[in-house]
Symmetry: C2
């Protein structure tokens, strides 16, 4: 008889309960894949009384999650508490320090403290699984860390936040404004009461930092990620994008350039013909481009109890089978120190939408500023005529440097005929 | 100093040369991911003189591929000869028998002899990698065998043959007929001189048999796969599909039903809104549906030297790291014997296109036959009017059983006013 893998689960929210449910309902499938049963023997959560839809009475209960790590009958710890500090971090570090493998869904912890945690795991020779931390049920970590491991990756990009993608999709399909759709998403449970983590791009940036570390074989560097969210996206810009053959998506993009690695999260205009443009609603997608494999896209549900539990248990199966991969795909000595490129050095095309007074000379003023910064226009589009009143004007540019575009934009914003803060959205040839 | 993984490569065609090129150009990346260098020390191929664009003079050369297996300096064998019999099979069996791991891109071998080969590998405790056998560079094997391993899979489906997808895409985009596009694809090198393996669906069926074994945890059963190719698809049917909101794709589909597992390869009408409908040209895609993860789709290049080499070397990295997964994801004792469901029992909707004499009463005769077999109509569409001459008539049905549809079809084909063999295409609600 082979010994089961005995695990301790900290955090019994939606995901924790999902993991327990999966391990019960699919016990046979999991045991076949894992080569032995995977059983939960201990748990930790704040509220002992809440009904989580799964029986808990036979399990050892710890009020302090860190105590799970020292339970001698726990072979591996599953951390589903969340947050980059506090008990989640304390538990992960305690478990690794005592030589116990860890599986976590915690993107914030890995993005912020992943470099040190990876070093600890390596020093102790202990596996650390985090498939659930990025893109939910999509096996994106495994694809980058193992499946595409033979490639030099040039770019990894993705729709990494389902809340934002749901909001943008709904705004487009129903021609509605951001605030209204957000409020509705909150009512439906697709957005948190405090939505800033999602809609300001921070959650996507955590995930992108992790993907970039894996893709380029260097320690995670969350601080280097340029982050913008979707609060300023309007129904007007979505409609104009459609007219120009684009769709607006919040993307995380990490790219290898001659100057180093650039990592950024911001709304993008992507051509409607690009596969990622069709990933709608709460779905996530990850695109990787390798020198031998070309472009690979993975698409699926990026959140929710079921998909996240699927990813957590995939990591447990790897543990049970003894399949061990270094945290960033290579040992720390084999990671590289490629520099991070600041956003000011970004080169790309831009969509610029202004609200201007409809009167002669305004376009000449605006394009004159762009000329002063050597920014060349690709197209110009004025929608409607209303002499003496406000009309939208759209300009798209050829490739130029972000620093030049920002300088031009702040001058354009001061022009008397420019009535609102201009909207700037980067165009991505994905 | 860690010992390199020393490999022997049999078969130096496009893919073999691609593997050697990758291991040279990306030696540093591969060594970092693998934890040690992966080096080619011996090769086997028929022609010693051909220039393959990679230096071979320093390598031991074997005229007989089977001899690679007994080279004491070869740790693992890479089989890229192809074919289900002959030297490929002899080499794989010899290597496994002598306890050496094997990596192969050979779908025919695995589809036809995979059950016995897996047992041999298991008896010897030796890993067998075949990521390159299905969907080229897309890490589909790893996703099904490991990444989605916690799920009960309900369905796996895919565009598994790039040649067919290229032909169907080109027929649609340029409104051209099959024979013409095939001839052009042969000139461009997208189709073989003898194209039947691809266009008659056999290659896709090999791959589907492998995916079904992985998805449902049972030994591979190529004989159970129902196979139809794309020779009979016409530009007319593609245009009519478009009108009805469908796109025609050659799909491999394996589904778990109450009666058992059904596996089939045939042209399908898929809704234009389905993500797989947008996978065009030489691209492949694999969709898996699991009980916890929901639907996951993977998309990328399914063939060619680069993508295939990427998959072969991913398997070598797993070997070098000591990551070992049973051939079908579970040990033979944990595989199940789920029955195969014959095609006659398939239940689904159908598209039926007839060329009929445009005269009163014809539609009544045709629909009368369908009524006799209890097949209920979803829609009927007659294109153009030409009294006394041939016009196309399209019927789409609600779900019915394949056996009933076939019986009805053979009676319809005998109706005097039906001028050509009717076209039958299954509608898939992917």
């Amino acid at each position: 008889m082979i010994r089961p893998l005995s695990i301790g689960v900290a955090g019994l929210g939606t995901v924790g309960a999902g993991v327990l449910k999966l391990l019960t309902e699919n016990a046979e499938v999991v045991a076949a894949r894992a080569g032995r049963p995977v059983v939960v023997s201990a748990v930790s959560a704040r509220d002992r009384t809440r009904d989580r839809g799964v029986p808990l009475s036979a399990l050892r209960w710890y009020d302090d999650p860190v105590a799970l790590a020292s339970d001698p009958h726990v072979d591996a710890v599953v951390e589903l508490i969340g947050g980059s500090e506090g008990p989640a971090r304390a538990l992960v570090e305690a478990a690794l320090r005592s030589g116990k493998p860890v599986v976590t869904a915690n993107k914030a912890l890995l993005a912020v403290h992943g470099a040190a945690i990876a070093e600890l795991a390596e020093a102790k020779g202990v596996p650390l699984g985090f498939e659930a931390a990025v893109a939910g049920g999509i096996p994106a970590i495994k694809a980058l860390r193992e499946g595409l491991g033979a490639n030099r990756i040039q770019r990894v990009a993705g729709i990494l936040n389902g809340t934002c993608n749901y909001i943008l999709t709904t705004m487009r399909e129903h021609k509605r404004e951001f605030a209204e759709v957000l409020a509705e998403a909150q009512k439906l449970g697709y957005a948190e009461a405090d939505p800033s983590f999602d809609i300001d791009g921070i959650d996507a940036a955590h995930k992108l930092a992790i993907l970039a570390a894996l893709a380029f074989g260097r320690p995670v560097d969350f601080g280097a990620v340029h982050v913008e969210g979707i609060r300023d996206i309007t129904a007007l810009d979505i409609a104009l994008a459609e007219e120009l053959g684009y769709r607006i998506k919040l993307l995380g993009i990490a790219r290898r350039t001659e100057a180093g690695i650039s990592t950024r999260v911001h709304p993008c205009m992507v051509p409607v013909s690009a596969p990622i443009a069709r990933v709608e609603g709460v779905f996530n997608a990850v695109v990787a481009e390798g020198d031998f494999v070309g472009r690979v896209m993975l698409e699926g549900r990026g959140a929710g109890a079921g998909p996240t539990a699927s990813a957590v248990v995939a990591d447990l199966i790897d543990l049970a089978r003894g399949r061990h991969t270094p945290v960033w795909g290579a040992a720390s000595g084999a990671l590289n120190g490629a520099a991070s490129v600041p956003m000011e050095r970004h080169v790309g095309a831009y969509y610029l939408r202004l609200m201007v007074l409809d009167r002669p000379g305004v376009i000449a003023d605006v394009t004159g500023v762009l000329r002063d910064y050597a920014i060349s226009l690709e197209a110009m589009l004025q929608r409607g005529r209303a002499p003496g009143e406000a009309v939208p004007v759209v300009l798209t540019t050829h490739d130029c440097e972000e620093a030049a575009m920002r300088a031009a934009l702040s001058r354009i914003a001061t022009l008397e005929a420019v009535l609102e803060k201009p909207a700037l959205i980067r165009i991505e040839p994905l």
